[in-house]
C-alpha cells in the first residue's frame, strides 16, 4: 500500500526538526532513510507513524490521511519498529510477538494469528525463546523478537501495508542484520511499502531500491543507491571524506570512509575488482 508524505513540517522550540519534506513510498519498494545524526530521521518516522502531528502537511496511506483513521484501522495498515523498545514485567518472547496480532483479533488469537506469530518467530530464528522472558535475552535477541512482533503485525495488512523500521540493525551482527533486511524485502514482495532507517550506507546500498537522504530536516536527495551515493554528496552531507568503490558482487556503490587527517591524496579511481584495497 502506498504512503504519501506532502510538505511535512514539524517545529519544536523554534527549530524545524522536519522542514518541508515530501515523498512517496510505493508498494513493493524498499526505501532506506539515511542521514547524519540529528538529521530528523526518527522524527520523520514518528510523523509517518502518526505519533506526532505535523505543524503543516499531510501523511496519507492508501489515499486516507492518518488523522482520518481510527487507531485499530491504522494499525492494520502500518507497522513500526521503533529504535527503543523496553518491555516491563518480564513478558516472554511469545507474549510479545502475540501482541503484534492485537489489531486483528478480539482478545483471543485465532489460527491465522498463531500462524503469523510462528512464521515471524521462525523467520528471525527465535522460536527457541518463545517461553523465555525477554530480559533474559541479549540485546540483539530482544531486537529480533521485537522485529518478529512487527513482522507478525504486517502479515495480512490491508494491501500489504506500510512497514517502518527505525534502525532495525543497530544491535545486530552482520548475519542477523542481513536477515532482518531480507525479511523487509520479503514483506515488500507481499506488497508492503517499506522504509528502513539505516546508518550503514553499504547496508542501505545492498538492501534498498530507493535512498532518501535527509539532512537538517530536509530531503536533499532521492534516487537509486548509485545515484545518491556519490563521493561529493556524502562528503558534504556527513562532513567526512569517503571513496566510492564498486561492490564485487552487485557492482553497486561501496562506500569506504577515509581518514580525514591523512595527508596523502585520495587514490585514483579503482578498477572494478579491487580486492587489493583490503
Amino acid at each position: 500500500m502506498d504512503l504519501q508524505a506532502e510538505d511535512l513540517v514539524l517545529r519544536r522550540g523554534g527549530r524545524a526538526l522536519v522542514d518541508g519534506v515530501s515523498f512517496e513510498l510505493a508498494s513493493g519498494v524498499v526505501s532506506a532513510l539515511v542521514g547524519p545524526n540529528g538529521a530528523g530521521k526518527s522524527t520523520l518516522i514518528a510523523l509517518l507513524a502518526g505519533d506526532e502531528r505535523p505543524c503543516r502537511g499531510v501523511v496519507s496511506i492508501g489515499g486516507a490521511t492518518l488523522a482520518s483513521m481510527r487507531p485499530r484501522a491504522l494499525a492494520r495498515r502500518r507497522a513500526l519498529l521503533p529504535q527503543q523498545n523496553a518491555v516491563s514485567f518480564s513478558m516472554t518472547a511469545l507474549e510479545v510477538v502475540l501482541l503484534g496480532r492485537y489489531p486483528y483479533h478480539e482478545g483471543i488469537a485465532g489460527p491465522a494469528d498463531r500462524a503469523a506469530v510462528w512464521e515471524a518467530l521462525d523467520a528471525v530464528g527465535m522460536t527457541w525463546a518463545a517461553e523465555v522472558p525477554l530480559e533474559r535475552l541479549s540485546g540483539g535477541e530482544q531486537l529480533r523478537v521485537q522485529a518478529a512482533r512487527v513482522f507478525a503485525q504486517s502479515v495480512g495488512a490491508e494491501g500489504g501495508g506500510v512497514l517502518l523500521l527505525d534502525e532495525p540493525t543497530a544491535s545486530l551482527d552482520v548475519a542477523h542484520a542481513a536477515l532482518v533486511l531480507r525479511l523487509a524485502r520479503s514483506a515488500a514482495a507481499r506488497g508492503a511499502a517499506v522504509l528502513v532507517v539505516l546508518h550503514d550506507l553499504n547496508l542501505a546500498a545492498r538492501s534498498a531500491d530507493n535512498i532518501l537522504l535527509l539532512a537538517q530536516g530536509r530531503l536533499i536527495a532521492t534516487g537509486s543507491p548509485a545515484a545518491v551515493f556519490t563521493e561529493r554528496l556524502i562528503a558534504t552531507t556527513w562532513g567526512h571524506p569517503v571513496a566510492i568503490l564498486v561492490h564485487p558482487q552487485d557492482q553497486g556503490p561501496l562506500v569506504v570512509p577515509l581518514d580525514p587527517l591523512a595527508s596523502h591524496p585520495i587514490a585514483p579511481p579503482t578498477p572494478p575488482n579491487a580486492q587489493v584495497m583490503s
Binding site: 516491563s88 511469545l94 503484534g100 506469530v117 510462528w118 521462525d122 527457541w128
Partner: protein, 396 residues
C-alpha cells in the same frame, strides 16, 4: 572468519581421531553461534503453547476461586461468637426453607445474616477492588510500585473523611454517623474523586497526558492533602481524634447491609471496565508508543483505567478507611507466579485480594477478641516485610 578460531582451538589440544576432531570443530562452531542448547519449535509447538495458556489460565482461576471459597466459609464461621460449620449449613437450609429453627443457638441467625455475612462480603469486595485496581494501575504506568495512593485517591478520600468527622462534627454535635451513616463515605468518595480529577487535569495538556507529570502531580497533591489533613487533626478534639485515627487505620466493622450495594456497584462497574481493557493493558507493557502503533487508543485507555481504578478504590476506601499494601503486594506476587498477562492477572488479583483481605479481617477480629485490631495495621505489618522479601529476592 570461523577458520582461524577453530584452528587455534585445535592446535592447542592433543592429537585426536578424525571423529573427535570433527566433533570439536562442530562444537566450536555451535558454541560460537549459540546453537548448542537451542532448538527450533515447529508451528504445532507454538499452537500448543498458545492453547496451553488458556488451560493454565482456567486452572489458576479455579484454584484461586477455591481458596476464596474456603476462606469465606472459615471467616463466616469464626468470630466473637463461633458458628460451627453444621450450624452454618442448617442456617443456610433454613434460609432456603428447609429444616426447622429448633435447637439452633439463640441469635445465631441474626449474627450470621446481619453481622458475619455483610462483613465477609465487604472484605471480599474491598479486597478484590483494591488488588485489581492496583494491578491495572501498575500496568498502565508500567511501574511495579504504582498504587492507588499515587494518583491521590486515598489521600483525597482521607481528607473527605476527616473533614466529615472534624468539620461537620462541629455543625452536628451528636455525631455524623447518628445523623446519616452514608454521609462520611459519600464525602470521602467525593474527596477521592476530586483529587484524582485534579491530578489528572494537571497532567493533561492538549488532550495528552504525561505520565511523569501525573506521578509528580500526585506526589504534590498528596502533600497538600496531607497538610490540610494535619490542620484538621490539629483542630480536632480528643474524641474526634480517636475516630480520625481509627478511620485512617482502616476497619471493615459490620457495615449496614444496605450500604454493601454502594460498595459493590462501583467496584463491579470498575472491574468490568478493567477486564474489557485487559488486552490493551498488555500492549501498554511494550511501551505507550508501541501500544499506540498496535492500534490501542492510548489516551482513552489510560483515562478509562484511571477512572475505573479510582472508582473502585474510592468506593472501598470511603467505607473502610485506608487499607495499605493489598493493592501493591497482591498483583506483584501474582505476576511472579502467573506472569504479566492482564487477562489472567486482573481476575486473579481480584480473587487473591478478596481471599487475602477476608483472611486478614478474620485475624483482625479474632486475635485480640473481643477487641478488634484495625485491619490496616495487619495488612501493613504483614505486607511490608513480605514486600521487602520480594524485593530482596528479585535483586538476587
Amino acid at each position: 572468519m570461523s577458520r582461524p578460531l577453530a584452528a587455534s582451538s585445535l592446535s592447542s589440544s592433543q592429537p585426536k581421531s578424525g571423529w573427535a576432531r570433527s566433533m570439536q570443530l562442530w562444537r566450536a562452531f555451535a558454541s560460537r553461534h549459540g546453537e548448542s542448547d537451542r532448538y527450533q519449535r515447529s508451528r504445532a509447538d507454538i499452537d500448543h503453547l498458545v492453547e496451553g495458556r488458556r488451560g493454565w489460565h482456567l486452572l489458576v482461576l479455579a484454584l484461586l476461586t477455591m481458596l476464596c471459597a474456603v476462606v469465606c466459609v472459615v471467616a463466616t464461621s469464626h468470630g466473637a461468637v463461633s458458628l460451627p460449620y453444621d450450624t452454618l449449613l442448617r442456617l443456610l437450609a433454613l434460609k432456603l426453607g428447609v429444616g426447622s429453627p429448633d435447637a439452633l443457638p439463640a441469635a445465631a441467625e441474626a449474627i450470621l445474616w446481619s453481622i458475619r455475612i455483610p462483613r465477609v462480603v465487604m472484605a471480599l469486595l474491598v479486597g478484590a477492588g483494591l488488588a485489581m485496581a492496583g494491578a491495572a494501575l501498575q500496568g498502565i504506568f508500567r511501574n511495579p510500585l504504582a498504587d492507588p495512593g499515587l494518583i491521590g485517591v486515598s489521600s483525597g478520600a482521607a481528607l473527605g473523611a476527616v473533614f466529615t468527622i472534624v468539620g461537620l462534627g462541629w455543625l452536628l454535635p451528636q455525631g455524623t454517623t447518628a445523623v446519616a451513616p452514608w454521609l462520611l463515605p459519600a464525602v470521602a468518595f467525593c474527596g477521592g474523586g476530586a483529587t484524582t480529577w485534579v491530578v489528572y487535569r494537571l497532567a493533561t495538556r492538549d488532550g495528552r497526558t504525561d505520565v511523569a507529570t501525573l506521578l509528580l502531580a500526585g506526589i504534590a497533591i498528596n502533600a497538600i492533602s496531607g497538610a490540610l489533613l494535619g490542620v484538621l487533626i490539629f483542630l480536632a478534639d480528643d474524641a474526634q481524634l480517636r475516630s480520625v485515627t481509627l478511620w485512617m487505620l482502616g476497619s471493615l466493622a459490620s457495615p449496614p447491609s444496605q450500604l454493601l450495594l454502594w460498595v459493590g456497584v462501583p467496584i463491579a462497574v470498575g472491574a468490568t471496565l478493567l477486564v474489557r481493557h485487559a488486552e490493551a493493558l498488555n500492549a501498554f507493557l511494550l511501551g505507550e508508543r508501541q501500544a499506540g502503533h498496535l492500534g490501542v487508543d492510548v489516551g482513552a485507555t489510560r483515562r478509562t483505567v484511571v477512572v475505573a481504578s479510582s472508582l473502585m478504590v474510592g468506593a472501598a476506601v470511603a467505607f473502610t478507611g485506608i487499607i495499605g499494601f493489598v493493592g501493591l503486594v497482591v498483583p506483584h506476587l501474582l505476576r511472579l507466579i502467573v506472569g504479566p498477562d492482564h487477562r489472567l492477572l486482573l481476575p486473579a488479583s481480584a480473587l487473591l485480594g478478596a481471599a487475602l483481605l477476608t483472611f486478614a479481617d478474620l485475624l483482625a477480629r479474632t486475635i485480640a477478641a473481643p477487641m478488634e485490631v484495625p485491619i490496616g495495621i495487619l495488612t501493613s505489618l504483614v505486607g511490608g516485610p513480605f514486600f521487602l522479601a520480594l524485593l530482596l529476592r528479585a535483586r538476587r
